[in-house]
Structures are given as C-alpha cells and as structure tokens.
Symmetry: C2
Subunit: 352 residues, 2 copies
C-alpha cells in the first residue's frame, strides 16, 4: 500500500493560511461559539477554496465519541417469523460499522400489545441515543414517540411502513399503495370480470396497523380504475389465532364465497391452512412475505403468489442511512424497495 499524499488540505494548512491556530479553525468547522465574525469569515473562505473535507477517522479517534443507534422493531412471534429478516439486516450493518465506533442496540415490542411499544419508546428516550431506527407499526403511538424524538433532537429513519410528515431522515420500505396496486393487477390474470374478491386484514390492532389499509387502498384503486366489474368484499379479523380466523372465514365464505382472496400481510398461511382443511380448491390466494410456512403452501399451489419486499435489506439500509446521516453525509429520503413476485417457479432463487 502506498503512503497518502502530503497533506496540504488539513486543519493545519487552513490555520497557516488564515494566520490563526488550529483551535480556532476547529471552532468554525464545528460551528462552536467564540470566534469573531471576521476571522470566521476568512477561515470559511479558505475552507471553500481548499474544498476541505474533514478526516472522519481522525475525528472519531480524537473525540472518543461513540455513535449510539437504537433500533425498535417488532419481536419475532410464533405467529410470524417475518421480523427475523429485518433484524438480520440490522445486525449485519451493525457489525460492518462497529469498527468505526458505532453501537446499535436492538429493542423489541409485541405487535399484539401496544403497551410494550410505548414502554420501549420510553426506555429508548431515557438512554439518549444519537439516532433511531423505527418500524412504526402503531400509528398514534409512533407519532407521539417521534414528536418526543424531535424535541430531543434525535434523528430517525422509518422502515417497513411509512408515516407522513414526521421529518424523518429517510423512509426505507415498500411503497404500500403500489404494492397493493400491483397485487390487484396480477390478480386480474387469475380471475375474470364480474367475479368476487375478498380482502382479508388480519391483526389484533387493525385500526393501528395503518399499513394494511394502505395496501388495501392500492388494491381497490387498481380494480376501480380499470372498471372490471369485480366485486370487492372485505373482512377484518381481530384475533390472530387460527380458531378465530377459521370461525370468521367460515361465516364469510358461507354468505358469499369469493373467487380470490388477498391477505394484506404475511399471515396468509393461516388462510391457506383454512383452505386446505376445508378442501377449498377453487379459490385463488395472494399474500405477503417469504416465510417458511408461506412457501410450503406456495409449493403446494394453495397460495398462488406472494409479494415480498426485501425485509433484510430494509434493516441493513435503515441502519446505514441513519449512520450516514450522523456522519453529516447526505441520505436519500425515500428508498422504496422493489416489489418482488414470488411464485412456485422462482421461489427457490429468491433472496430475502
């Protein structure tokens, strides 16, 4: 390896040109008070001329600072292993930047209990982190939390589902509306005009899981726009255990059996199980996420296709984005994930 070229652009060079000490230069670079307007100006001019870029390594070393990032995401439940993937991405990013003085602490909440969310939010605020990565599953609670983060000048990125007007550094995740829209578009290949579609939202806190509703909205819009004459019913299932789900679906199917079911999240495998146990074979089924249980049903043909949006990458990029921001580097504020279609034919090639 070669030696770095003689440094003629450092803080020392600036000091020499401005006829001041490096301490003064440091003050204006870091916007610290105690510099006369005049010297400040001359120094800034020189900085521009030299196109000075601070040496991040020297800075981190000298300041002995550690960048502390908190990540708050749902815990992996026995109902769905989805959050394994974002967590993996978060940990991957964390280990890549550990060498550069960054610590990432993971916090988890139960998607079925919003109290656990607010508890963890309080926890995080007490610890005074430098940045936050959040999966804002509960809308109102998230908004309250983020408002307190803003008060404490803690920048944050959002992953998995978006929240409008939160002054977040970045959103990394699906375009929820488009995701539902594409699902509808593909559905049109599976059914014909004037058939019936059923949208199924499964969540104990549906009113709070705004992201499900955005997907539903995109789904409906696609059908409405193209005037297919397809009728769209919907059902919200507020209990996530299989028995409750079965009871509800039985009732709905008895009343009006659909030709296609669109499940707005990863719990599509429960519906597939319902199909299997009740020998329902003529109903198409679409849902979300590359989970082992979903893939099983995809293989068998019970599920027709799954939509997946790179959950691991969301975690990885989420951490990297907040880190880049804390390093004062520019960060793309909206990073939509691609909308991947998983079928029986290509699932074995998919990388989560």
């Amino acid at each position: 390896m070669k030696k770095r070229a003689e440094n003629t652009t450092g803080i020392r060079e600036i000091a020499k040109r401005a006829n001041v000490s490096i301490g003064t230069v440091d003050r204006v670079i870091n916007n610290r008070p105690g510099v006369s307007a005049k010297t400040k100006e001359t120094i800034q001019k020189i900085i521009e001329e030299l196109d000075y870029q601070p040496n991040i390594m020297a800075r981190m070393l000298a300041s002995k600072k550690v960048i502390r990032i908190a990540a708050l995401i749902p815990s992996v439940s026995n109902e769905t292993g989805y959050w394994n993937a974002p967590l993996k991405g978060i940990n991957e990013a964390a280990s890549e930047i550990r060498n550069f003085g960054v610590v990432v602490d993971n916090y988890f909440f139960d998607q079925n209990a919003k109290q656990t969310f607010t508890d963890q939010a309080d926890n995080i605020l007490k610890q005074n982190y430098d940045g936050l990565l959040l999966a804002p599953m509960f809308e109102n609670e998230s908004i309250a939390f983020l408002s307190r983060c803003r008060q404490n000048h803690i920048p944050f990125v959002l992953i998995n589902s978006d929240l409008a007007d939160q002054a977040n550094v970045a959103y990394i995740g699906p375009d929820l509306f488009q995701s539902g829209y594409l699902a509808a578009h593909l559905s049109k290949y599976l059914i014909s005009a004037s058939q019936t579609v059923l949208v199924v939202n499964i969540s104990r806190e549906i009113d709070l899981h705004h992201h499900l509703l955005k997907k539903e909205e995109g789904f409906r819009t696609s059908f409405e726009k193209e005037h297919t004459g397809v009728a769209i019913d919907k059902v919200d299932i507020n209990e996530t255990d299989y028995d409750s789900l079965q009871k509800t679906l039985k009732r709905v199917f008895k009343k009006n059996k659909p030709d296609l079911v669109f499940v707005t999240n990863s719990r599509v495998s429960s519906v597939a199980r319902f199909f299997e146990e009740n020998k329902i074979q003529d109903v198409k089924l679409i849902g979300y996420d590359f989970l082992e249980e979903n893939i099983e049903y995809l293989k068998k043909g019970t599920i027709d296709f799954l939509i997946c949006q790179k959950p691991q990458e969301q975690g990885y990029k989420g951490v990297m984005s907040i880190y880049q921001h804390l390093l004062q580097a520019p960060v793309e504020s909206v990073q939509y994930m691609p909308i991947d279609i998983i079928t029986k034919e290509n699932y074995s090639y998919y990388k989560n």
Copy 2:
C-alpha cells in the same frame, strides 16, 4: 454522544501486562519479525485473553496508508448500456468508503476487442494495486491475468460471470446455469410440447464469452430433464450490428421458424426489432437485462419477459467485498444474485 469507555484493551494495556513496550506488541500483532519466540507467545496469549480487536481508525490514521482498488469492467457501448449499472454500484461503494482512506480506480475494456482487455490488465498490474474487482468476460485472458495477480499477491473478486478455481476472494453475480434453467422453466408456460425453441447467442467473441454458454446449458438441461419433446435449435451470431443479425435470423427463420426465442444476453432488443420489422408476432421472446431499449419492447409485448440480476448491486458488493477482505474481515465467497423476472406488469417497480 457519549465518551467511549476507558480503554483497557488497547495495545498499551497488552504491553503493560506483558511487561514490554508497545512497539513489541505492535510487532506481534502485525506479524513483523524481530520478536523472540517466548515474548511473542506471552503476548499472543494476552491478546487472546483480552479478545483484542485493533482499532481500524487509529491504524489507518497512523499508517497513512491508502487502500487502492482497481475495477476492470466492460465499457458502456452504444450497443448496450448494461454496464452502466455495475459502474454506478462501484461508484456508490467507492464514495461510501472514501472517508476511510480507500481509492477505487475504474478501468474499461471493449467487449468486442480482447486486446483492450489485455492492455488494461497490463496497466493495472503496473500500478501495484492492493485489490482488484474484475468482470472476466474473456475466459483465457482473464485466467492469465488472474494468475499474474496471484503471483503479485493481489486479491480479487469476480463479478457478473464466474471462473472456476481462481482462488478469488468472492464471486458476486448470477448463478448462470440456474438463470438459464429458470428461463427454460418459465418458457414452458409460453409454448406447448413438441414445439420448437431457438437459442440465440449474440457476441463477436462467443467462444470467449463462456457465460453465455453456461446459460444455454442450464436452459437445455431444464428441457431435457422434463422430457417435453421440445426441439432446441441454436444459432451463434458473431457480428453485433443489426444488419448482420437480421441476415442470419432471416436465414434461420426461413429454414425452421421457432415458436420461442431465448437470447442469452441483453441484446434481445435487436431480435425484438427484427420481429417488429418483419411482422413476426407469433413467436415468444425471452432475454436478459433491464435496459431502456429492452423495456420498450417489453411494454409493446414483443418481448415476453426479461431476466435481471441486480447489476448495480453486483458492482456495489464487489467493491465492498474486496474492501472488507483487505481489512482482514471475512467475506462470503459466493454471493449469488436473485433471479428477477421482469414482465409488462411489474417492470415499473423494478430497481436495477
């Protein structure tokens, strides 16, 4: 931000415990000669006990070293813009690690002239880089080049197409065989048994573009394995200009018109143009890569689907992998890209 905890694990602490100077500790950490076997051993023991991890930032700063990486990839020709995407990924990675004393130099060669490849290879070897990123489009020339890299102890990663037994740090790109295999699998939905398929390889140096042949092999294997009775013809087109291509295809189609054409690289748009100009509408068409001209034909329905394998990510991960390796971090040695299927329905959501 918090102060880093009191450092009780640094080189200084090791020196104290071993009753030596930090210079000696440095020598054993970096495997430099001039340390007695005995002190070396005691120091190593302490390093293990403390689970000592060197501070990369301090190391880079003190050594004034710059990590220099060369990237050698095809230039963007007017025939195909494919290599824009990997280049973008390379540059993205380069700018992310520039702060950490890394310089990435890009070199380009003309895919239609292997001389330009060997010239650039010579160039790179003269400059004594610390690491190399290579798209080994020309098989024999690449093998010769890499053998010289090994002699010079320059580690390298391969992207886009693999080469066996080269002792590379990593391969990042498609599983070529599987890519062709999946293409064949999906083709079966477009045609029926006992129809005819034509494989088209377009390249001025086909014998050297081994990666096209690997895709063809996967494609054939899939059909053979499932005994569909489909007949597979093939044609190699050695001139990449449209007129030559048209002439050849006209001849082939006259003799035996296929029901489906599989183009093994991104030049599928030329075949689409041929279809269009000659009013061929009943032949299915499959090819590679998310390029503007390909997407145009996909929209029109001339191309049925495209296979795409994250070219930008290949460039990004290629640089990051060689960088991690030079930092002594472990790197996954085979990183296959997902095999994405692009259709009229989902192309607008695809991220290259």
